[in-house]
Amino acid sequence: MKRVLPYDALSKREVPEAVDFRILARAAARCRERRIRRRVSIWGGIAAAVAVTALGSVFFQMGNTDRSAERRELLALGDFSRLDQNSYVMTLEVGSGSVDY
């Protein structure tokens, strides 16, 4: 098909200044909003990361404390010397007939 040449007077038209102004103002406002939102989300992300790290370290400490206490208890349970002695005494007593059942 034959190319229809564009006529500037038909294809282009000067936009009223007030319309230009309103559109550019809106674009600038949206751009600022996006910048603020991005900053908020970046700072929010940093704050969340700090909070998670802090909470993590607190729980880690708590976990460590609990675990050490648990370990002490377990070690105490592992001390069979006294238990064995009691058991030996009991066996001896049973064997010698000094205990009535």
């Binding site: 098909m1 034959k2 229809v4 040449l5 564009p6 006529y7 500037d8 007077a9 038909l10 294809s11 282009k12 038209r13 000067e14 936009v15 009223p16 319309v19 230009d20 309103r22 559109i23 550019l24 809106r26 674009a27 600038a28 949206r30 751009c31 600022r32 996006r34 910048r35 991005r38």
Partner: protein
């Protein structure tokens, strides 16, 4: 920045560069306004309304805009949809597409282009354009914006052959109308 590609400007704007949008806007504003002004038969207040609404939508949609063809094609598609909504809202009926055979007309296109390049002639063409069916007028106006037939087909949501047919009839009808005026 003035010479930057449309997509570069869009990315810069969505990254927070206000100036990038201004460059993009100044690149297309006259074309889009001219298209809408002619589409609305010179109704400046409606053209202003649709033009502003189009750019507001573009501003909101730019962050999710993906590079799928020319930005101008997308821009004109957004404008066209808003134009249709405005027409519906204002209950103005669009003219039906004429597909009937038209009588042969003299080969007006052989006239020197210079005769057409003055403002008066453009005004005469604009007046003749208003007498065309809406679809033909739109194809002619979009072609004036140097959009390809494929892009116009996407904008009008119809096959390329339909667009070619509309353009053919638009030019034929314009020739007829303008020959009548010249004579």
């Amino acid at each position: 920045m003035e010479d930057a590609d449309d997509m570069v400007l869009i990315k810069a704007y969505t990254a927070g560069n206000e100036r990038a949008f201004e460059v993009l806007y100044r690149r297309y504003r006259k074309q889009l306004y001219g298209y809408l002004y002619n589409l609305m038969s010179g109704n400046a207040s409606e053209a202003d309304e649709v033009f502003e609404e189009t750019w507001i939508k573009v501003i909101d949609k730019l962050p999710s805009y993906r590079d799928q063809g020319k930005f101008s094609a997308w821009l004109f598609r957004v404008a066209r949809n808003i134009f249709i909504d405005t027409v519906r809202r204002n209950k103005r009926s669009a003219l039906p597409l004429e597909t009937g055979d038209l009588p042969d007309v003299p080969d007006w296109s052989r006239r020197p282009e210079r005769e057409l390049e003055d403002r008066e002639t453009a005004a005469v063409i604009a007046e003749a354009l208003d007498q065309l069916p809406a679809d033909q007028k739109e194809v002619f106006l979009l072609r004036q914006q140097e959009l390809s037939f494929k892009e116009i087909a996407e904008i009008q949501a119809c096959p390329v052959n339909t667009v070619l047919g509309r353009m053919h009839y638009a030019v034929r009808n314009l020739k007829k109308l303008l020959t009548g005026k010249v004579n």
